[in-house]
Each structure stands twice: as structure tokens, then as C-alpha cells.
Amino acid sequence: MKWLRNTILEIVLVILCVFLSFRARGFLSAENLLKILGDVSMQGIIAFGMTMVIIAGEIDLSVGSAVAFSGCIAAWIVERLTRDNVPAAASIVLAIGAAIAANMLAGVLSGFFRIRFRVPTFISTLAWMAILRGGAKLITHGFPINSFPQGFSFLGAGYIGDIPFPAIVFVAVFLVIQGIMTFTTFGRSVYAVGGNAEAARLSGIGVGRVKIAVMAIVAGLAAIAGIMLSSRLLSGNPESAVGWELDVITAVIIGGTSLMGGAGRVWGTLIGVVFLGVLSNGMTLMNVDEYWQVVARGILIFVAVLVNQAQPGRR
């Protein structure tokens, strides 16, 4: 029984895939499956960080805006530096570094406000959601930046062999985060802080440092996703990634992570991300109305939460 409960999501995913293999034309091909992986990779990268944040008992609502902000700031820096005849490779590296650093700073501040002034991250990241979106518009004056040097598009649309580059980043980020959560004292601390912050504090764990770190990590991952998105679209677009925070949180919840904090699995999030990708790919192949697809996603959240609620020890 316990085994069934722990693997129910995997089982449902397999059933869904088998069903789609028969019913959705073109679903079962290496090309399509790799496409799904590529499609989900950007939100997926953020979802792994979000899993840490939610396990630590916090939330980040600003990741969608953070994606747009980092994409725009990276595009803006690349454009500027290219105009000043800086070599393409150097300008791209600089842009990536600056975008990640800027986003992580916002995350660190959210964590700092949380521990120093007890501002819930629900509130502070709501503020960042507006600030970063506005910031992206300020940088770009509201218009997408569309001039990029050679090679920039590889980050979001390139392939290594037959595999989309973002999919490789996705798998790599999964392995790193899964490793952190399973095999490091920091990962143990994240679970402890989310499960019982007071007990963690009284056990000598630096609760504040853990919270700041997870907020910075998810913000940094949002930056990586933002850079890949602007590369893929060849556009630093301030209107991109609207509502991503909800898609990301959806994937985490479907993956079985408790919004109460303290419980969750990075592997579950991987399955949740893939599940959402397969579902939307399959429905599109079967010509399901786009609006119905959105409704189906919502129903899926209900079902997933009910299944998770049925697990013992969760409230």
C-alpha cells in the first residue's frame, strides 16, 4: 500500500503515456518526446528550486517576473556590449553573470526581509513580482530587444546531438538539486527548517541562512530560465513568462510537495513537470480545445492534492 501511494504519480504518468501512444497521433516518437522535454525544461528548472523553497516553508511568487527581468537584462547587456565591439562570447558570459546576480540579489533580499522583519515571502515576492516586471519594462522601454550576436540562440534553441540544450540543463539542474536535498547537510536543514523552524533553531541550525539560500537559489534558477527563454525567442521581452509562477507551483504540488513545508521530493517535482508537459502535448495532438486544456490543468491540481492529502502525516 505504501509503495502504491509513493508511486501513484509515476503509475498515472505511465498510463497516460500508454493511452496517448495509442490515441494521439505522433505522440510516441523520439522527436516528440524530446520536444516535450525541451518545452518543459525552462519552467522545470525553476520548479526544482521552488521545491526547495516550498519544503523550507516559503514561497516565491516572483519567478515569472524574474524570468522576464533576467531575459531583458541579459539581452540589453548583450546588445550594448556587442555594439561596443566586445566579442560575442565575452558579452554573453557577462550578461549571464549579471542577470543571475541581479535575480539572486532580489531573492536574498526576500529571505532577509523574512528573517529580519518577519515579512512573509508571499508578500515580499508579490512585491518583487511587480518590481521585476516593471524593471524589465524600464530596461527595454516596453519593447522587446531583438538584436543578438551569433551563438546566443544556442542557449535556448541549440541541440547537442539530438537533444535540446535546455533539456540537458533541465536534467543537470535536477541531478544537482536532488543531490543537494538528499546528500548534503544543507538539504537536511531545508527539510528541518520547513518541518519545524523552532526545533531547527533550537538544534543549532542557522534558520535564517537556510531561508535566504533557498530564496537565492530559486531566483538564480529563474534567471537561467529567463536567459534561455530570451535566447530561444531571440527576444528580450518584458511581457514574457506571465503566470509562470503558477505553472511552476502547480508542478511542485502535483509532485507531492506539501505547501505546509517540511515534506516533498525533488523527484516528485520532475514527474510533476513531465506530467504537465505530456498532458498538454497530448491534448494538443488530440486537438483538444486550448481553453479546455486550461480547465483540465486545474482539475489535475485538485486530483493531485486530494491524492496527497490522503497520505498519512499530511494535513
Binding site: T184, Y191, A192, G195, N196, R201, L202, G204, I205, G206
Partner: protein, 509 residues
């Protein structure tokens, strides 16, 4: 309106325990009954049964000789039994009048019956307060009142139902002395008007002022009921505690002479002030005191869990900088361990495995360069589980699967694994069985032999007498005295902890 409440052969069983065993009591109108008993004696179960919130397994309740059934708190109110609990149930943002008449505010008549009749409401609330001899403006917000006044409003709310019986569950625990006196004047007045007042308390010093009859419960049994006689507090203590077999700590335990932890002039707000003591190598130092005496706050402050306003802490004669005293992390690194009073809320991460909980404070020691695996945790956990005789089928199971006693031993093991020099124990035996208690004492004695110092706070004073080298008595946030367990009986210690703290605690020492 002289009336009586009678309980006949009340028995209450919970799975595994009998909370009340064949209790028969009678409360008559016009008198104040003090219901006494130590923690777990069954006082609160009895109150809950009489208040209708808990159903007895068997037995009857009678009012004026007529049997009644109490299925809910509403039933009890309807039968004239009102209860004021320790935790106030007032709504701070509403006025006194609204709180007293909550849910029963008078409305205008006819077409305006949706509208509250404020003049009538104020008059009704004022009438209730007048009857109690209290003068408060009923339009004031409850949030503006002091704790004692809020307590009065709570009683007024209960009295507005015109009950025959009023139960007060530790109404004075949060009050200052003059406030207690005011409350007692009100209680006396109510009793005089024919109400039977049941006053649940653990403060012996109050009895002379308020009690007509003293009723004592112990271990779920009715021990005795007597007209209060101010001359014999010891006999009441004896009724509460029974014949205590005074156990002795092992003879080979010797406290060292080198100071290990010194606390000098430690103060924090209104929690505690000017605390001085020295803990020596291998010493087990008890702190005796009633709930609210500041003992828990003191331990938390020493461990850095709460800030301090003044004073300093020395380890091995070296002062710990205040900045360090402000963080449990630093104090842990300096060799302190802290077992908090509420293990589920403050010590354990429920849902996580036994071994993860055991390694919670020592992850850096168990892991290697920040890396840690379940196998490494397991290797650390097993010897400790064996050493502390913890009954564990599989250390990978959630901590929730263990009994209270075994959970507490995991908390102790968690600190042993940090290789501490001093461990602070706050009520380590709360809610655990006798065998587990003995194991915890055994651990303290073993630690003492290794030269590790312990500070042991407990409400169960007989435990302190059994385990400690020295006992400090703490009252109202100050150290009121020091006793040697070899020269005091448990009864004497209880009396010393409970006796009036009117005299300045410092000079009383």
C-alpha cells in the same frame, strides 16, 4: 437560591489510563471550594466533565438532587453550570458589553429587529457588573483592559447566565497580588449570593484568603475533602502528594568544584531578574519553581534562544559575548545542549525519520564537508539507540512512530551526539512513562560521571530531590533560595515553592 451540584461515582477512562476513578463530590451554594491536585491528578478532566465538554465513562451528575445529562457546554450552561477557563475567550476588539452578551445582544422590536438595542445592551451588561460590585465602563474595548480586568469580564460573562455553579480554572495564574485580592472579593461576593464556586488552583498560599472547603484529587482518585484550616498547609501537601518514597541518587556521584557554567546578574524584561548561579563540573543542578516562575525563560535565555537585557554568562571562567549568547547555534558550538519543555513543537521535526532527528544538532559532525548520507546517519544513530535503550524497530521510520518516552530519549541522544559540556533539561520527563523517566535520570547521572553538567527544571519536585546535587528555588522570576536534596523532604520543598512570595524573594533566601 441555595443550590447544589453533586457528582456520583464519576469514572473516566481513556485508552490505557483511568483519568478519574469513582469520584463522588458535592458542592453547595454559598461556599467556595478549592479543588487541588498536582499535574495529572484529574482536576481538569473533572472540570471538563462538569462543564459538559467531556463525557464520563460512568457515573451521574445531579443538580439539586435531580440527575442531569451534560452532552455539551451548552447543556451545562442551561443547567446553571458556568466555567471560566484559564485561557481567556474574549474578543479583544469588542466592547465589554458586547463580550458579556456575546451572541445574546438585545435587539430592537418590530421592523427594526435587525438592529441592536445598544442602550439596553449597556444597561444589561452594567447590571451584571454592578451585581458583582465591579465598576467598569461597559463601552470600553476589552483590548484596553489589563489581564485582571479581562478576567473579571470573563467572570461577568459567565455570571450573566445566572449560574448556580461557577467553576474557575486557575483564574489567578496570570494575576498580580492586588489583582488577585480584587478577584477574590468578587468571588466571595458571588458565593455570598448563593453561588457554589469551584476554584481550581495549585497555589496553596491563596487558600487562606478564599477557600471554605479544600478538596484534593490524586492520581484520579478522591483523596479527601476538609473544611479549610489555615494551620495545616503541610497536611494538604501530604494529601496532594501522598507518601512519597524518597529515592536517592547513586552514591558515587560527586559534583566537581571547578566552575563550568556561571550565570551572573542575568535579567530579561519581566521574565526573570538578577539570576546568579554557578554550575560545576559533573554537577546536576535542579531548578524548582511553579509554572510561570521564569524557569523556562531562564533556560531559553542561557541557551541563546531568547535575548537577555543584562548580565553575562561564563563558560570555564571565560565570558561569552552577548552577541554569542543571542544564538542557539553559537551556544551549541560552545558546548551547550538544550532539551526544551515541549518536544513535539520545539525539539523534533515530525514526519522526518528517527535518525535524521537524532542527527539534527550534529549534522556537521555526522557528515563530511557538508555531505551526509542516510548510511552515515545510521552508523551514528545505532550506538546511541543501544546506549539509551531506545526501542526502535527501524531508525528510518518517522519519529512519530515512537512512544513519548522513546521520542524524548531521541531528543536526549540528539544532544549527546554533539559532545556537549552542559545540557539544559526543561521538563524532560513530561508525559513519559516511569521507566523512560528512570532512563533519563540514569543518563543525567552518567553525564555527571563524565564531568558534564546538567541543569534540570521540573514541576515534579520529587524528581529534583531524587536526581540533583543541589536545588535552586525560583519564584516570580528570581532565585528565592537554595536547598540540598539530602536535607529536605519533598513536602517541605513543595511548601517552599508554593509559599507566599510577598516577602522580597531575595531576602527570603
Amino acid at each position: 437560591m441555595a443550590s447544589s451540584l453533586e457528582a456520583r461515582n464519576i469514572r473516566k477512562e481513556y485508552p490505557g489510563t483511568v483519568a478519574l476513578d469513582d469520584i463522588s463530590l458535592r458542592f453547595d451554594g454559598g461556599r467556595v471550594y478549592a479543588l487541588l491536585g498536582k499535574n495529572g491528578a484529574g482536576k481538569s478532566t473533572l472540570v471538563k466533565i462538569l462543564a459538559g465538554t467531556v463525557q464520563p465513562t460512568s457515573g451521574e451528575i445531579l443538580i439539586n438532587g435531580k440527575p442531569i445529562t451534560l452532552r455539551s457546554a451548552t447543556d451545562a450552561f442551561a443547567q446553571g453550570i458556568a466555567t471560566v477557563y484559564q485561557e481567556l475567550s474574549l474578543i479583544p476588539e469588542l466592547s465589554i458589553a458586547e463580550n458579556i452578551l456575546l451572541g445574546r445582544l438585545p435587539h430592537k422590536t418590530g421592523a427594526l429587529r435587525m438592529i441592536i438595542d445598544w442602550p439596553a445592551a449597556r444597561a444589561q451588561a452594567k447590571a451584571v457588573l454592578d451585581e458583582m460590585g465591579v465598576h467598569l465602563d461597559v463601552r470600553r474595548k476589552v483590548a484596553e483592559l489589563g489581564v485582571a480586568q479581562q478576567q473579571v469580564v470573563e467572570i461577568a460573562k459567565a455570571m450573566s447566565f445566572k449560574p448556580a455553579v461557577l467553576m474557575l480554572d486557575e483564574p489567578t495564574s496570570a494575576l498580580a497580588r492586588h489583582e488577585t485580592e480584587m478577584l477574590f472579593r468578587i468571588i466571595r461576593r458571588l458565593a455570598k449570593s448563593g453561588v457554589a464556586v469551584i476554584h481550581i488552583t495549585h497555589r496553596l498560599q491563596e487558600l487562606a484568603q478564599i477557600a471554605d472547603v479544600v478538596t484534593v484529587l490524586r492520581d484520579g482518585k478522591f483523596i479527601g475533602s476538609a473544611e479549610f484550616n489555615p494551620a495545616t498547609p503541610e497536611s494538604i501537601v501530604h494529601m496532594m502528594f501522598g507518601a512519597v518514597v524518597q529515592k536517592q541518587r547513586p552514591a558515587d556521584l560527586k559534583a566537581g568544584t571547578e566552575p563550568l557554567l556561571e550565570v551572573q546578574g542575568l535579567s530579561r524584561g519581566d521574565k526573570f531578574r538578577d539570576i546568579d548561579f554557578t554550575l560545576h563540573r559533573g554537577e546536576i543542578l535542579g531548578i524548582a519553581g511553579m509554572l510561570g516562575s521564569g524557569r523556562t525563560e531562564l533556560l531559553r535565555a542561557i541557551f541563546g534562544a531568547d535575548p537577555i537585557d543584562a548580565g553575562r554568562i561564563l563558560l570555564d571562567g571565560k565570558a561569552v559575548r552577548p552577541a554569542q549568547a543571542g544564538s542557539p547555534k553559537r551556544m551549541m558550538e560552545l558546548g551547550l545542549g538544550f532539551i526544551p519543555e515541549n518536544r513535539k513543537e520545539q525539539a523534533l521535526v515530525l514526519g522526518q525519520s528517527i535518525r535524521t532527528n537524532l542527527c539534527l544538532a550534529s549534522m556537521n559532525r555526522v557528515g563530511w564537508c557538508g555531505l551526509i548520507t542516510s548510511a552515515r546517519e545510521q552508523r551514528t544513530t545505532l550506538p546511541l539507540i543501544e546506549r539509551l535503550a531506545i526501542k526502535v524497530a527501524d531508525a528510518g521510520l518517522p519519529i512519530d512512530s515512537l512512544s513519548g518516552g522513546n521520542q524524548q530519549k531521541i531528543v536526549v541522544a540528539k544532544w549527546l551526539n554533539t559532545k556537549p559540556r552542559v545540557i539544559l533539561f526543561d521538563e524532560p520527563t513530561r508525559g513519559i512513562d516511569v521507566q523512560a523517566k528512570q532512563h533519563i535520570f540514569q543518563i543525567m547521572w552518567d553525564l555527571s560521571r563524565e564531568g558534564i553538567g546538567s541543569i534540570f527544571v521540573s514541576s515534579e519536585l520529587e524528581e529534583l530531590v531524587e536526581v540533583c546535587h543541589r536545588i535552586l528555588i525560583m519564584k516570580s522570576g528570581a532565585i528565592a533560595g537554595e536547598v540540598s536534596p539530602d536535607q529536605i523532604t519533598v513536602d517541605e520543598l513543595v511548601v517552599r515553592c508554593m509559599e507566599t512570595s510577598t516577602v522580597d524573594p531575595r531576602s527570603a533566601a
